[in-house]
């Protein structure tokens, strides 16, 4: 500034004005983009019947982020100079003056003087451009309106499930407020990590159950929670008692006393070996390695075997540290066996409670929530004596028909319902229909579907033929069969090396089967 004209100072107000306008503009654009993204996410998630917090977060965060970006990426002085040049028709005078502001070349000084004359009396900040582009504003308002409409609109029930009745909702809310906290309290304190995950799953289930509006959504949420608990349980693999006993026996000469649980004795033996490694002579180390190999071969627990193999191998190579590390791990695994067993047991109890909760949410034959336990359902259904068979079956005269839906109809419940013209209020998996005894055409609903099978220990149906003979027929509840398949499939996909998408695809398939 050899001539008293500071172009940077002259451009500062314009730069500030441009920054403020950019802040306003980008915030509007951010709000619009956030609303659009939130609307898309919301629309996608509503098809699953869940109203998550993610769209709200996106909606709120997007304008904040863009506003912060607008401040961080505020216009430079050069950008302000270019804008002023363009706006006031200064033929790049400000841009040149800014770039050569520290030069004292005579021509540059002349140029600066001419620039100062050119901008004298002009309010450079008036060239900062529009606050908001109308097109962007309209687009943002539209996006926000769409998002608000989607937020405000009630969650539509899924196509195969009607809204839950007041009684059902009360039952679901009771489950969320009373039963799930009780399940959480009964989880064991051992194995903190797994139990923390389990509590987290239950807390999420509780939140979901507070928001659901249909029974199908509730059942689906419970099933998903069950799957997650099963996955947690799958990570807990305690050493079984026989393996621990074998190990303790094999390493018995390293343990002074022979009392206490086998796993603790084996763990103590391994700790002793690890402790004495530093002072052991070569011959002792060789013996220890042989003993460890024997113990490894003797145990059936794969993880413990691997660790013992590793320790023996490390000893063979003279790597004491690696050997000690493997031994400590194996000892820890043996010690934690009992806690893992307790944790698995706790998780299994929770699974059973959730299973019972699901059955409590299924309808009884008169369409009300039964609350019946699994044991007495057979008795209830065994005494039904309808006059006519269900649609789609041959008339059975005075035959007592208890189990009327075959496997195919059970697995294709939706199709059958569509054919029979009856809406489902049970989450869609169990309904056939039958006319009542008076023959007045009113459909009567049956809450449980049985699948035919071999006679065994499970539930069976009794049919009385035209000649009065009693026919017994093996039957298993659809829910039991599908749940068993789902568990098997879940275990299989957990073991297999599959991409996560395929894994979740298989699980979703069984969730749909369970709650079609």
């Amino acid at each position: 500034m050899t001539d008293g004209f500071d172009v940077a100072h002259a451009l500062a107000p314009l730069r500030r004005a441009m920054t403020v306008r950019r802040l306003a503009r980008w915030t509007v654009v951010g709000a619009g983009a956030g609303a659009l993204a939130a609307a898309i996410v919301l629309a996608a998630l509503r098809t699953h019947g869940v109203t998550p917090a993610a769209p709200i977060l996106i909606f709120a965060a997007a304008p904040v982020i863009t506003a912060m970006l607008a401040v961080v990426l505020r216009p430079s002085l050069a950008a302000a100079a270019r804008r002023a040049d363009a706006y006031f028709g200064l033929h790049d005078r400000l841009t040149t003056a800014l770039e050569f502001r520290t030069s004292s070349e005579p021509m540059v000084v002349l140029q600066r003087r001419q620039t100062a004359e050119a901008i004298a009396g002009r309010q450079l900040r008036s060239g900062a451009g529009p606050w908001i582009v109308p097109r962007e504003l309209v687009a943002a308002i539209l996006a926000v309106a769409v998002a608000c409409a989607l937020f405000a609109a009630p969650t539509p029930p899924t196509s195969h499930a009607s809204p839950a009745s007041a009684a059902e909702l009360a039952r679901i809310r009771h489950l969320a407020s009373e039963q799930i906290p009780a399940m959480t309290r009964t989880l064991p304190r051992s194995n903190a990590r797994a139990m923390r995950q389990a509590r987290h799953v239950l807390a999420r289930l509780r939140r979901q159950l507070r928001r659901v509006r249909t029974k199908a959504q509730a059942l689906r949420a419970i099933s998903l929670a069950q799957q997650q608990l099963a996955q947690i349980a799958a990570t807990l693999k305690p050493v079984d008692r026989s393996s621990a006993s074998t190990l303790a026996r094999t390493l018995s000469h390293y343990i002074p006393e022979h009392r206490g649980a086998a796993n603790l004795r084996a763990a103590r033996a391994l700790s002793t070996i690890a402790k004495h490694l530093n002072r052991a002579k070569s011959s002792q180390k060789a013996r220890m390695a042989r003993d460890l190999l024997k113990a490894a071969n003797a145990t059936r627990d794969a993880r413990t075997r691997s660790l013992l193999h590793k320790a023996a191998s490390a000893l063979g190579h003279g790597d004491k540290q690696r050997a000690q590390s493997a031994l400590q791990k194996a000892a820890h695994r043996l010690r934690s066996g009992s806690t893992s067993r307790k944790a698995r047991s706790g998780l299994a109890k929770t699974q059973k409670s959730l299973e019972a909760a699901k059955y409590n949410l299924t309808p009884s034959r008169n369409g009300k929530l039964s609350g019946a336990s699994l044991g007495n359902e057979k008795t209830k259904y065994s005494h039904e004596r309808p006059n006519s068979a269900a649609p789609g079956r041959k008339s059975a005269g005075n035959r007592r028909v208890i189990s009327r839906n075959g496997p195919a109809s059970a697995l294709n419940g939706k199709r059958n319902l569509a054919e029979s013209g009856q809406p489902s209020d049970s989450g869609g998996y169990s309904l056939g229909q039958q006319h009542d005894a008076a023959g007045n055409g009113k459909p009567r609903r049956f809450g449980v579907v049985y699948l035919q099978g071999k006679l065994g220990k499970g539930t069976y149906n009794v049919q009385e033929g035209p000649s009065g003979q009693v026919q017994r027929q093996g039957a298993a509840r659809y829910q039991h069969v599908v749940a068993s398949y789902a568990r098997t499939a879940d275990e299989a996909v957990s073991r297999a090396s599959l991409p996560p998408a395929i894994r979740s695809y298989v699980r979703r398939y069984f969730v749909v089967l369970t709650h079609p």
Binding site: D92, T95, T96, L98, E99, P106, L110, Q111, Q114
Partner: protein
């Protein structure tokens, strides 16, 4: 007031005087006059292209008269030899009566050389100008001689007559700072021309001399150019090259684009234009205005471009639309 202040002030005044004088000689060709004066102050050579009878030679003669420069005219013909331009060694007697070889200067030894109908000479003769135009020297008889400063070549050529002409080679074309197209005058101008008596060149007042022209060129060289402006000029030059451009027309119709000398010409003439417009900095508008005269003769059209009759100006118009200003 500093020396530079006075120089800049006199620059504008003298340039305006020169343009005014030339406008009285050549009616209705304001753009041609402005571009010619710009090229002159930028210290380069000009190639004037136009059909016969548009006043190209008249303009050059008027310019020579107004500038108090030594003027020589070379009428290019197919039988013109290089020695006819540069000069040759002749045998003559000195004062003592001995016969010695002496160099006789050719017509190129002048400040302002009019190379009339330059494309009528053979390439060999045309190339005799190369050294003179680039280095300002002439080498003959094993000796290099400097040409008088300032040295300007103002060449004219006729775009229509192709019979018996030799198009200028690319190297020769690149030596010209600007290629100025001389268009037909408008109707009103033709009316004024028709009213003029005779074809004699009117008397032209002396506006400036060679030293003043050199001083003005030095002043023009000091005009600052901002980085965004020079970047725009570079973008334009790069866009003329088929291998570096994104413009489809250039890829299709241009075989070779402008050289770094083209960039120098573009920026240099833009500096002069800025000063002529009373500005002490080069703007994007200056670059855009000088792009056509500075680059049109540096675009070598492909066979497809030539066969389809595409002009370099049409390609440059597309370029100016396609390359965004900063």
């Amino acid at each position: 007031m500093s020396a530079l202040d006075s120089s800049v002030e006199t620059f504008g005044q003298r340039a305006e005087d020169l343009v005014t004088v030339l406008k009285t000689v050549l009616l209705g060709q304001d753009e041609v006059i402005t571009q010619s004066v710009t090229g002159l102050f930028a210290g380069g050579h000009l190639l004037l292209e136009g059909v016969p009878g548009l006043g190209k030679t008249r303009l050059v003669r008027a310019l020579a008269n107004a500038l108090e420069l030594s003027y020589s005219r070379i009428q290019f013909t197919p039988d013109l030899m290089p020695a006819d331009i540069t000069g040759t060694m002749i045998l003559r007697e000195d004062d003592s009566g001995r016969r010695v070889f002496a160099f006789r200067q050719g017509p190129i030894f002048g400040n302002l050389v009019l190379a009339d109908e330059i494309n009528r000479a053979t390439p060999k003769t045309q190339s005799a100008l190369l050294e003179a135009m680039q280095e300002g020297t002439v080498t003959a008889g094993g000796e290099t001689r400097a040409l008088p400063a300032p040295f300007f070549v103002l060449a004219t050529q006729n775009p229509l007559e192709m019979e018996g002409t030799y198009p200028l080679p690319e190297a020769q074309l690149d030596r010209f700072l600007l290629k100025v197209l001389v268009p037909y005058p408008a109707h009103e101008v033709l009316r004024d021309i028709g009213r003029q008596q005779g074809d004699e060149l009117p008397s032209v007042p002396l506006v400036m001399d060679g030293d003043q022209i050199a001083a003005m060129a030095a002043v023009a060289g000091q005009v600052p150019v901002a980085t965004p402006v020079i970047d725009y000029a570079i973008a334009l030059v790069l866009a003329t090259r088929p291998e570096t451009t994104d413009v489809a027309e250039v890829k299709r119709y241009v075989r070779a684009g402008a050289s770094p000398r083209g960039l120098q010409a573009l920026v240099g003439t833009s500096r002069v234009r800025a000063l002529l417009n009373g500005r002490y900095n080069v703007s994007i508008d200056d670059i855009r205005a000088m792009a056509r005269p500075a680059l049109r003769h540096r675009l070598i059209l492909s066979f497809e471009g030539q066969s389809e009759g595409v002009s370099a100006d049409a390609v440059l118009d597309t370029l100016l639309d396609a390359v965004p200003a900063p």
